[in-house]
């Protein structure tokens, strides 16, 4: 991957300020459009985790990658100014909802609002209804399990789209494993109905207020939530006529 020199100009591009602004006080405030107003970044305070090995923990790994030790990185947290339309949406939501952000991440042109679960319903309603935001389309809901993120192990990710303004936004909320409750947004986005059911099915996140929170992909009497990180791949003994086929992970360790 080639890195561009910081002051490299694209053909035809003229910069109005030659020196990058180093003093944060002198930096332009949100909403001002200056070419040197680069999105700010600070490291994510989430606890770092360390992963070992490639495929397995303990015995059974013959790949030779068992000795790999790797510190888990997280994307940087973004600070104003974010640039483009992002500042407008950020400030608008902050006006409409009282203190809605845990953090904001702008990565590769994709904006993510991390919103506490207590504010989720209100924020989602505003995101849909406010004329300046108008994210009227909910693509889907996806769960992520971060076992290292203590107190917020389970994340729920909503992908929103505004067809009015042709924009996309990601909203993320989290809950601890010990209290896996997140309010449902089905009343705002009916499209989230099955997606929340799937997230409940796969991650065991309870969406309070959902009209019919039942398993959707796994059988109704299934025990456990397969997409959690502590749930092994294929770790189910299969019983047939008194004989038990051992789970895959006991035949060879994938953990």
């Amino acid at each position: 991957m080639s890195e561009k020199a910081p002051d490299a100009k694209l053909p035809g591009e003229e910069k109005t300020v030659s020196e990058p602004v180093t003093d944060p006080e002198a930096a332009p405030k949100a909403g001002l459009e200056r070419e040197d107003a680069q999105p700010g970044e600070t490291p994510d305070p989430a606890p770092a985790a360390v992963r070992r090995g490639m495929w397995s923990e303990g015995t059974g790994d013959t790949s030779g990658y068992g000795g790999i030790v790797r510190e888990v990185a997280r994307p940087h947290v973004s600070t104003a100014p974010l640039g483009s339309w992002y500042d407008g949406a950020h400030n608008r939501l902050a006006t409409l909802v009282d203190d809605p952000f845990i953090k904001v991440v702008l990565q590769n042109g994709e904006l993510t609002f991390h919103i506490p679960r207590e504010k989720l319903v209100e924020a989602m309603r505003q995101l849909r209804d406010d004329a300046h935001l108008r994210f009227e389309f909910c693509s889907g809901v996806s769960g992520v399990h971060y076992p290292e993120d203590e107190g917020a192990e389970l994340h729920v990710v909503y992908h929103l789209a505004s067809m009015t303004h042709n924009r996309r936004l990601r909203v993320e909320t989290s809950c601890p494993e010990s209290d896996p409750h997140v309010p449902s947004v089905v009343a705002t986005y009916p499209a989230a109905d099955w997606h929340e059911r799937e997230t409940w099915d796969m991650f065991g996140i309870v969406f309070d207020g959902h009209p019919h929170l039942t398993r959707i992909l796994m059988p109704d009497d299934w025990v456990g939530h397969p997409q959690r990180k502590d749930y092994p791949l294929g770790g189910i003994p299969i019983e047939y006529k008194g004989t038990t086929v051992p789970p895959v992970d006991q035949r060879r360790s994938y953990r």
């Binding site: 991957m1 990658y65 888990v72 994709e110 909910c138 693509s139 499209a191 959707i216 992909l217 791949l233």
Partner: protein, 448 residues
């Protein structure tokens, strides 16, 4: 289902505990009719599927009927759930392509592109994908869009008795699949698109074969319009069935031909272009009836638009013969000069010669790249694309490792099946088949 006290599956000597429910006894229709007469209403609960031939795979529909009128209908899914997303967390980023291609198996190329675009965005290499690789992706996607629409139209036609539409649909599909086989080695489940580019260039005869495919489609695509467009039986079954207006589409997250059949020309290829679609000349097709017939007409016209793009791709690919089809970054690029061997497997003899006979370091590098894989910077990405069914996107999360921390496909069919009740309730029982067929769900993508 009948309740009995004998367990037919018990081994000899096993005690049977409690009531055993089994479908073996079947039941006498006279008993059902008598029970119904006692209830003194016309309501009947019918289970349709999951093995019903007109449910596009293993979709289960629970229908409550009053006579032949549908009072309520609830789809049940999950019968084809294979844990693809979980499995991907245990494989490298490149291997993930092999999994996603098996999701919506009627439009495998789109799954691969959606996944690879997301991975490439996380890697920050979106601008470095060679032009020829992008053109090949567009070519494969648009041909795949035609085959997917052919299946939608063909099976949808078959389900209402228009068997010829199915047979000619699969005939055209076969021609395109032969081309796919020549390019990727496989008719389905290609795993052709890879992070960084594509798995291999066109074969030597590729352009000639492509011209043949185009000529064939040019000749045969008009047949569908001739068979169906003004066919009174076809229209009698399709017009006004499965109505769903724009606001219902927005609320339920419905995209693709269904959304465009309401008159709203939302197509991600135009609205949020990817893979250079802004440089192609094509139109977004809309219809204004918001019913099954409108969706059929949108699909029919979209095949022509796809063919237009395919022709433009053919010209571009002819002009760019010999240019690279994989990113010029040895940390990411897998060998992409594959040729199909006598065993049908793809291999790059040049590359094998290099790593096995010339350079020890190249061998070590190749081994590391293939077994361990490349690292993807931490973060998450979601790049939606316009699949034949609607918005298809892959939400990938990386923790900085060589495997996806989480990969989730947003399959349009999953959303679209949510609109079965709104389209079918209050209609006739026989129209369920038409409405579900016009949704074009593929259960492999819905259940993953």
């Amino acid at each position: 289902m009948t309740a009995q006290h004998t367990d037919f599956y018990a081994s000899p000597g096993d005690e049977t505990e409690g009531t055993v429910y089994t479908a073996m006894g079947g039941g006498d229709f006279a008993d059902i009719a008598r029970e119904q007469a006692e209830r003194n209403d016309e309501t009947l609960v019918i289970n349709m599927g999951p093995q019903h031939p007109s449910t596009h795979g293993v979709l289960r529909l629970m229908v409550e009927c009053d006579g032949e009128t549908v009072k309520s209908i609830r789809p049940g899914i999950g019968f084809l759930h294979t844990g693809i997303e979980k499995n991907m967390e245990y494989r490298s980023w490149t291997q993930g392509v092999t999994f996603v291609t098996r999701m919506d198996y009627v439009a495998p190329i789109f799954n691969e592109v959606a996944y690879c675009l997301s991975v490439e965005r996380l890697l920050g290499i979106e601008d470095q994908i060679p032009q020829r690789a992008t053109d090949l992706r567009v070519l494969m996607m648009e041909l795949n869009r035609i085959t997917s629409h052919l299946v939608a139209i063909g099976t949808g036609g078959m389900e209402i008795g228009a068997l010829t539409v199915m047979t000619i649909g699969f005939r055209e599909r076969e021609v395109v699949l032969d081309f796919f086989e020549a390019v990727t080695g496989l008719r389905m489940n290609h795993a052709y698109i890879r992070p960084g580019g594509v798995a291999g260039d066109l074969p030597e005869t590729g352009i000639a074969q492509l011209r043949d495919v185009i000529a064939w489609l040019d000749k045969h695509l008009p047949e569908y319009a001739a068979f169906c467009n003004e066919n009174p039986i076809f229209k009698g079954r399709m017009v006004g069935i499965g109505k769903q207006d724009l606001s219902a589409c927005m609320a339920l997250g419905v995209t693709g031909p269904m959304l465009r059949s309401t008159g709203y020309g939302w197509d991600l290829r135009k609205m949020q272009p990817y893979c250079g679609y802004e440089d192609y000349d094509f139109d977004v097709i809309t219809w204004d009836t918001a019913d099954a017939y409108g969706r059929f007409r949108v699909r029919l016209a979209e095949m022509w638009e796809s063919l237009k793009i395919v022709k433009q791709c053919a010209d571009r690919l002819e002009a760019s013969t010999g240019q690279p089809v994989m990113i010029d970054d040895p940390k990411i690029a897998w060998p992409a000069k594959l040729v199909t061997g006598p065993d049908g497997q793809g291999n790059s003899h040049e590359h094998i010669k290099h790593i096995m006979g010339e350079s020890m370091e190249a061998l070590i590098h190749h081994f590391k790249l293939v077994t361990e894989g490349f690292r993807v910077p931490a973060g998450q990405a979601y790049v939606p694309i316009e699949s034949p069914k609607g918005e298809l996107g892959c939400h990938v999360v990386s923790d900085g490792g060589t495997r996806p921390f989480r990969a989730h496909m947003r399959d349009p069919g999953f959303n679209h099946l949510q609109s079965v009740p709104i389209q079918c309730e209050g209609g006739m029982l026989a129209d369920i088949v038409v409405a579900v067929g016009s949704l074009d769900p593929v259960m492999g993508g819905v259940d993953r």
